[in-house]
């Protein structure tokens, strides 16, 4: 009987442990769809906050912080109106917050391509807030981060998505090109098809956005 008791106790305890990590994966999984579909700044902040809560509770998972940083950065982008990004006093605190979160993710995960994707997005966000005074600092910073993202994982389709967006939004006299953007989105879609995320909660976002931009290039 004692054996049965011991086995049962071990089983229940392990259930509880599995339950814990299961809860992490399940909670994260439940938010994956929102990563791609959330479009308003307020909802993105809400999502970023919930990822940060998971990160703070888990303490040694990099993905919650990564997503929190990504959602913060995206919330900054969503504040743009008619191609006009708010001024640095609005954008910089958001960029700072995102940077703080991505640093936490990097401390836990080390350097990886996905982290540099977010770093690129932060640099571009800062640039957009004051292009006249920042194109010489944040411009190269964004380019370098994207190059690093590619170097760390040449198969990452998101590098092509971001590059395509740069080409898409830059005026033609400044080196932008819708045709080049289209080619990049096309290449990105191909890479998305062959891209295998490491797990159900690993970065996998961007395909729907790429398709949307691709449709705009037609």
């Amino acid at each position: 009987m004692k054996q049965v008791f011991a086995i049962l106790l071990a089983f229940i305890t392990s259930m509880s442990v599995v339950g814990q990590s299961d809860k992490y994966v399940k909670t994260m999984e439940s938010k994956m769809a929102a990563v791609d579909s959330t479009m308003t700044s307020a909802a993105l902040i809400d999502l970023a906050n919930s990822f940060q809560r998971i990160g703070d509770a888990e303490k040694n998972q990099w993905l919650p912080y990564y997503y929190a940083a990504l959602m913060q950065a995206k919330s900054g982008y969503m504040l743009s109106n008619n191609g006009q990004t708010p001024s640095p006093s609005v954008i910089d605190p958001i960029a700072d917050k995102s940077e703080e979160l991505i640093k936490k993710a990097e401390e836990l995960a080390g350097q990886n391509s996905e982290i540099y994707i977010v770093k690129k997005m932060i640099a571009t966000l800062r640039l957009m807030a004051d292009p006249m005074n920042r194109w010489q600092t944040n411009g190269p910073e964004a380019t370098e981060a994207l190059a690093k993202a590619k170097e760390l994982n040449p198969e990452n389709p998101r590098t092509l998505l971001l590059e395509g967006q740069d080409k898409f939004y830059t005026p033609e006299q400044y080196g932008g090109s819708k045709t080049e953007a289209k080619a990049l989105f096309e290449a990105a879609i191909k890479k998305y098809e062959s891209f295998k995320p490491e797990s159900s909660i690993s970065p996998q976002w961007g395909l729907s956005t790429t398709k949307y931009f691709y449709s705009l290039c037609k």
Partner: protein
């Protein structure tokens, strides 16, 4: 077995996920305003929410018992509250306190125009300086469009709020610069020696400045040199007045850099083209070279060296005002070098060290002769003084150390010392070879301390004091400085400043006849400002009192007047308005400044207190900058205005042995419209290795007659207008930089 089953049921019941509790509430700041977007969480749990537009939140949790609810938000201190979760709905209201941060706190700004990129009060960046049409790419040229500075065109330097140019001192990385401008040439204002791009921050204080700076009665221009350059690059510049080239190398690990540059300036072509007032026998030629290195000694430490050399000469003749048909020949040779070494580091015990050491050496070789119609040297009776030679040599050593310690929040203390050594030698030779030599050596030792006290985010005070000991005067001074700032709203604040400022008598009038003391100025400043990202409004009123100014006697030392006593005095009062707007019209950046100045002083040989000839009552500037994205072109225009300035001929009455006014007049109003274009074809091009900026600038585009002042013949019987050497000046140049940047290769290889 039943027992076991109930035991299992009991354990399962301990597992989470069975009953839920709703927690809701509202988050406000200490003024009861709702905070939107605040993250609410239960400590170490997943559950939580984000506050909505009314500051409310609501979420459900399966957690039980004692929990800590945490609110966190950008710019606010996290707020925590312990709650006991039972079965019923829980309501928690939280209040958050703003974090004391540099971004939000009140800044002490009275009398100061900061242009540092770190501070929110940014007014002028290096780019702003070079795109100010009337500034001609010169730092002080651009600063003259700000309130407080006069539009003086016949002498270099900053004339601030009724002060002379020598009352404005310039500091690079904390240490004093002795010969910031090229050596004076009669009636032609000289440019500053240093390029605006050497500096990341420019603080132009028109009064009431910190105790860290001294020996300036009116104004301090504080320049902060750049740290590491952004990339390795080579630059070449070609313009109508010269060529220059440079190379800047950033090490691979981005921890150190070095650079050299050389410039050759010869405006001969321009002078020939524009028919200058002066008839040049030797066109101005400037050779300038500089070298630098910068080493990041740690995460927080940096060691910087900047060295500068310049050799230049010119010679010209102007028709003599004293004797018709004769010419006055002036020749100048100048050699200057300047070395600045600075070091910045956090040295532990929360102390930040800023140390600087600079040495400079300057030599002027000036020759003045009277020439006849055929440019032959002559000595005329009664005008012998027109023929002289003057060799001025100066050695200057400046050392400064500041320690800064942050106490709590933004409250901090700064203290340190400064040592200034100067050795000015002047050898004057008059027409018959008689020599007068003078040597003025000064050792000035200074100690200072200052504290920034932040009582709250909204109220701050800066209290400082400065002690100076002059070996030359054998005197000490004690100069307290106080400023207060109060934040009125998110974007606006009011400040007050008071301070006492001392300065040595100008070496030009030394040695004096009698023992002399420091000249003294007391500043009172009241300021209001409203600053947002794109719009700045600044209103300032001031009163400045001068005491112990130098009075000169009719004792000529060689040809120079020398100081008789410290009995001069004066005052200046006025108000200033500054408005800058980058918002109203897209891609248009403009500023308007207006200064009203009411000043009188009795100094040098003035018979009594008068409005000096370097002070205009009303001064205004309008500066416009528009970048046309489609053309990749910046269009810049500026309009400067000043009401006429008085001028005087001061004669000497041999009977009463006193100075008197023999003639008084007023110059016409000053108007100047300038225009410049920058064309940047490579802007935004990602893959170009070459980056070119073309510059076309036209000063005084409408050719308006400008009169800076009047000069008199030695006996006062004739006078003539002092006008700019060239009425309208057209400048054309191209600046090319070759970026040697490997990141582009990395991208290309990966595509």
């Amino acid at each position: 077995m039943k027992i076991w089953l109930s035991f299992v049921a009991f354990i399962l019941a301990l597992q989470p996920g069975f009953t839920q509790t709703t927690i809701s509430g509202r988050v406000t700041d200490n003024k009861k305003h709702a905070l939107i977007g605040v993250s609410i969480s239960l400590k170490d749990g997943y559950d939580g929410a984000t506050t909505d537009s009314s500051g409310r939140f609501s979420f459900t949790t399966t957690e039980k018992g004692r929990q800590i609810i945490v609110a966190s938000f950008i710019g606010y201190r996290p707020a925590e509250q312990t709650i006991e979760i039972g079965a019923s709905i829980i309501n928690v209201d939280l209040q958050m306190k703003e974090e004391v941060s540099e971004l939000k706190a009140v800044v002490i700004t009275a009398g100061t125009f900061e242009a540092s990129d770190k501070k929110k009060t940014t007014v002028l960046s290096p780019m702003d300086i070079v795109t100010t049409a009337s500034g001609n790419g010169d730092i002080t040229g651009a600063l003259k469009t700000l309130p407080g500075a006069q539009q003086v065109g016949d002498h270099e330097g900053l004339f601030v709020r009724g002060g002379t140019a020598t009352e404005s001192k310039i500091f690079i990385d904390g240490t004093l610069v002795n010969n910031f401008f090229y050596s004076s040439v009669p009636n032609i204002a000289q440019r500053g020696r240093f390029s605006p791009f050497l500096f990341s921050g420019t603080v132009f204080s028109t009064g009431g400045y910190s105790a860290l700076y001294g020996q300036a009665l009116s104004s301090a221009l504080i320049l902060e040199s750049i740290d590491l350059p952004e990339r390795t690059q080579a630059t070449v510049g070609i313009s109508v007045i010269g060529v220059n080239g440079g190379y800047q190398k950033l090490s691979k690990n981005k921890k150190s850099s070095w650079g050299i540059s050389y410039g050759y300036t010869n405006p001969a072509l321009a002078i020939k083209l524009y028919k200058s007032v002066q008839e040049y026998s030797s066109y101005p030629v400037y050779h300038t070279g500089d070298a630098n290195f910068r080493i990041k000694t740690s995460k927080t430490g940096i060691l910087k060296y900047y060295g500068y050399f310049s050799a230049n000469q010119l010679a010209f003749r102007t028709p003599s005002i004293d004797t018709l048909g004769y010419k006055e020949a002036f020749a100048l040779k100048n050699f200057n070098m300047y070395h600045n070494l600075s070091y910045r580091e956090n040295i532990g015990w929360k102390l930040k060290l800023n140390a600087g050491l600079s040495y400079s050496n300057n030599k002027n070789d000036i020759n003045s002769r009277l020439n006849d119609r055929d440019d032959k040297e002559v000595v005329l009776q009664g005008l012998e003084f027109k023929n002289f030679g003057l060799i001025q040599k100066g050695d200057y050593l400046n050392a400064k150390m500041v320690l800064e310690r942050r106490l709590q929040g933004l409250t901090m203390i700064r203290f340190g010392g400064e040592y200034n050594y100067s050795n000015d030698r002047s050898d004057f030779t008059n027409y018959n070879g008689q020599a007068f030599n003078s040597r003025i050596r000064e050792n000035l030792a200074t100690a200072f301390a200052e504290t920034d006290i932040y009582i709250t985010n909204d109220v701050a005070a800066k209290l400082g004091t400065r002690f100076e000991h002059s070996a030359l005067l054998n005197k000490v001074n004690f100069a307290p400085r106080v400023s207060l700032a109060y934040k009125l709203s998110r974007q606006s604040q009011a400040s007050l400043a008071y301070g006492i400022f001392y300065q040595d008598p100008e070496t030009q009038y030394l040695p004096g006849v009698n023992p002399l003391g420091f000249a003294k100025a007391t500043h009172y400043i009241l300021q209001f400002q409203r600053v947002s990202d794109l719009v700045t409004l600044r209103l300032e009123a001031f009163y400045k009192k001068y005491e112990n100014l130098i009075k000169t006697d009719f004792t000529y030392y060689g040809q120079q007047m020398s100081a008789a006593n410290n009995n001069g005095y004066g005052d200046a009062r006025g108000f200033e308005i500054f408005w800058r707007d980058k918002k109203t019209v897209r891609n248009l950046d403009y500023w308007i400044s207006y200064s009203f100045l009411d000043t009188k002083r009795d100094f040098l040989n003035f018979p009594h207190a008068i409005q000096p000839s370097f002070a205009a009552r009303h001064t205004a500037s309008l500066v416009l900058k528009k970048f046309v994205t489609k053309w990749k072109t910046g269009l810049n225009a500026s309009y400067n205005f000043a009401t006429g300035r008085p001028y005087y001929y001061i004669g000497y009455d041999d009977n009463t042995h006193a100075y008197k006014f023999d003639d008084i007049g007023k110059t016409p109003d000053y108007n100047n419209v300038s225009f410049s274009i920058n064309y940047i074809p490579g802007i935004g091009k990602q893959n170009s290795k070459m980056f070119t900026v073309y510059v076309l600038s036209v000063s005084n585009i409408f050719g308006i007659n400008q009169v800076y002042n009047y000069q008199y013949s030695y006996n006062g019987s004739r006078k003539e207008a002092v006008i700019p050497p060239v009425k309208t000046f057209v400048y054309l140049g191209a600046f090319i930089s070759f970026g040697i940047d490997r990141t582009q290769d990395a991208i290309n290889n990966n595509l």
